[in-house]
Amino acid sequence: KIKDTHVELPFDFKSYMVEKANLVNLALDAAIPVKEPAKIHESMRYSLLAGGKRVRPVLCIAACELVGGDALTAMPSACAVEMIHTMSLMHDDLPCMDNDDFRRGKPTNHMVYGEQVAILGGDALLAFAFEHIATNTKGVSSARILRAISELAKCIGSEGLVAGQVVDICSEGADVGLDQLEYIHHHKTAALLEASVVLGAILGGGSDAEIEKLRTFARSIGLLFQVVDDILDVTKSSDELGKTAGKDLVSDKTTYPKLLGIDKSREFAEKLNKEAQEQLSEFDRQKAAPLIALANYIAYRQN
């Protein structure tokens, strides 16, 4: 297990994730106190603080530290990407969208607070994400903060996350090819991971070249995340996944295993992980350890 390069210390990914996720949870809790009207703020907190691995915020902080920035500089943006992720789930779960009653083992937001509050709470989280970055980012120039805001807006809007949702909705029941499947995942999943990493790199003081390398890294692991998700759905039992297995098959959803077969899907996942990690090759190996571990975690997770 000990590598021949004796300077390289083993990286404890689990401790790293727990430590960063705890910091993020504290920051999220503090960012949205219950104000009047209480119910709308409670609805925002209900979904925002419902748990979750905080992969997006940790990516944001890790990218910031990789390019030499302080984690605290990235914290408002790390919270903002989680707020956006949460609001998109709140709206996605609505009866007129995916109509989901449960999320992470808990009743979905509209089941608890009603549809109108779930819509308003989501809208408020979306707006607050920008307010939070604009007012609470410290230790970096206004120019960088504006650039981060612009990036986030681009990645979550009609050229990013929303575009993915729209194409996904419009593809239901239609024949989806590989290109379209990739478009959906690049936008629906990868775009927000891209924002997370790019915001961290911008605020950490990264050069344009570094920011673009990390952007490519994020797009690869974003797609990787979805390919692995598709593979797990057909290869694991519901018990192993902690959610209903074989869902994609039942709903006749287009997936990578359906289009490529399991073996080719696994090869594709390997390729994406390799491409992602190649982007990190010119960074300091030890500083890049968290992002390398995150990519491997996404690639080799079992649920």
Partner: protein, 305 residues
């Protein structure tokens, strides 16, 4: 009644700016892939009946404080985008359930509920992005642009317009002041304040614009309630009127015409009082004065409304 702004031609000023804003909004949302979402966004943002009051107030406030109107246009457009996003979501069946808006069927009746939700979700970020990408950097320092983004996000958020919509839907009862302040005062206040921020106004001036904008926004709505109560039009309008009164959404239904008219007069005085602080700017304050008169008396209308 004699008015300070009697000699200022608000209609021409407003119409000219409105055309410019319409053109810039048209350019700001080109149709790309996937077309459905862009069509849906454009449908609401470019609605013919839109008066463009928030952007015009933003530009007027910016010019009052010596700012260049070119500095204000991107923010002016962003105000319309986030405003449209709020209206699209407010009209949904689980919210106000409004079948029409600005003289055309509401967004979800044309594009479906899912697309309407997503169009709103896309218009909020587009507004913020438009400010950053289109404001001429030589005209507005970056810190001021951050203040503008912060101001807009706060105005539409959980203690602003979203709070107004929430209380409108879920009570408590007798919250008409809160609802009017948040649903109508907030956008107007935000528009005036953003114009000031873009021109580099000081804190005192921002406070005056805040008071002014808020009063004008609420004034417009209270007068709307009064005019609606007094009008005896078709059955359809009668139905909408009853609907509104039943829900306690009209100032008149809660307090009666007399009190509503008194409140309107107070708001008019409050708005003009705030403008006293800008006397030193001379005639440049006239657009903002005439806005108060328009909100209070509706001296004209736009032909294509």
């Amino acid at each position: 009644t004699s008015s300070v702004s009697a000699n200022f031609d608000l209609k021409t000023y407003w119409s000219t700016l409105r055309e410019e804003i319409n053109q810039k909004l048209d350019e700001a949302i080109p149709v790309k892939y996937p077309a459905q979402i862009y069509e849906s966004m454009r449908y609401s943002v470019l609605a013919k009946g839109a008066k463009r009051a928030p952007p015009v107030m933003c530009v007027a406030a910016c010019e009052l404080l010596g700012g260049n109107r070119l500095a204000a246009f991107p923010t002016a457009c962003a105000l319309e985008m986030v405003h449209a996003a709020s209206l699209i979501h407010d009209d949904l069946p689980c919210m106000d359930d409004d079948p029409s808006r600005r003289g055309q069927p509401s967004n979800h009746t044309v594009f479906g509920m899912d697309m309407a939700i997503l169009a709103g979700d896309a218009l909020f970020p587009l507004g913020f992005r438009h400010i950053v990408s289109h404001t001429p950097p030589n005209l507005v320092p970056e810190t001021q642009l951050l203040s503008v983004i912060n101001e807009i996000a706060r105005a539409v958020g959980s203690t602003g317009m979203a709070a107004g919509q929430f209380v409108d839907l879920e009570g408590p009862a007798n919250a008409i002041e809160f609802i009017h302040e948040k649903k109508y005062g907030e956008m107007s206040e935000c528009s005036a304040v953003c114009g000031g921020l873009l021109a580099g106004a000081n804190d005192e001036e921002i406070q005056l614009l805040r008071r002014y904008g808020r009063a004008v926004g609420i004034l417009y709505q209270v007068v709307d309630d009064v005019l609606e109560a007094k009008s005896s039009k078709t059955d359809l309008v009668e139905d909408e009127k009853l609907q509104k009164e039943k829900k306690g959404k009209s100032y008149v239904s809660v307090y009666g015409v007399e009190k509503a008219v008194q409140v309107a007069e107070d708001l008019e005085a409050e708005a003009k009082n705030a403008l006293e602080g800008f006397k030193k700017y001379g005639e440049k304050v006239l657009p903002l004065y005439s806005f108060v008169d328009y909100a209070g008396h509706r001296g004209f209308s736009f032909a294509d409304q």
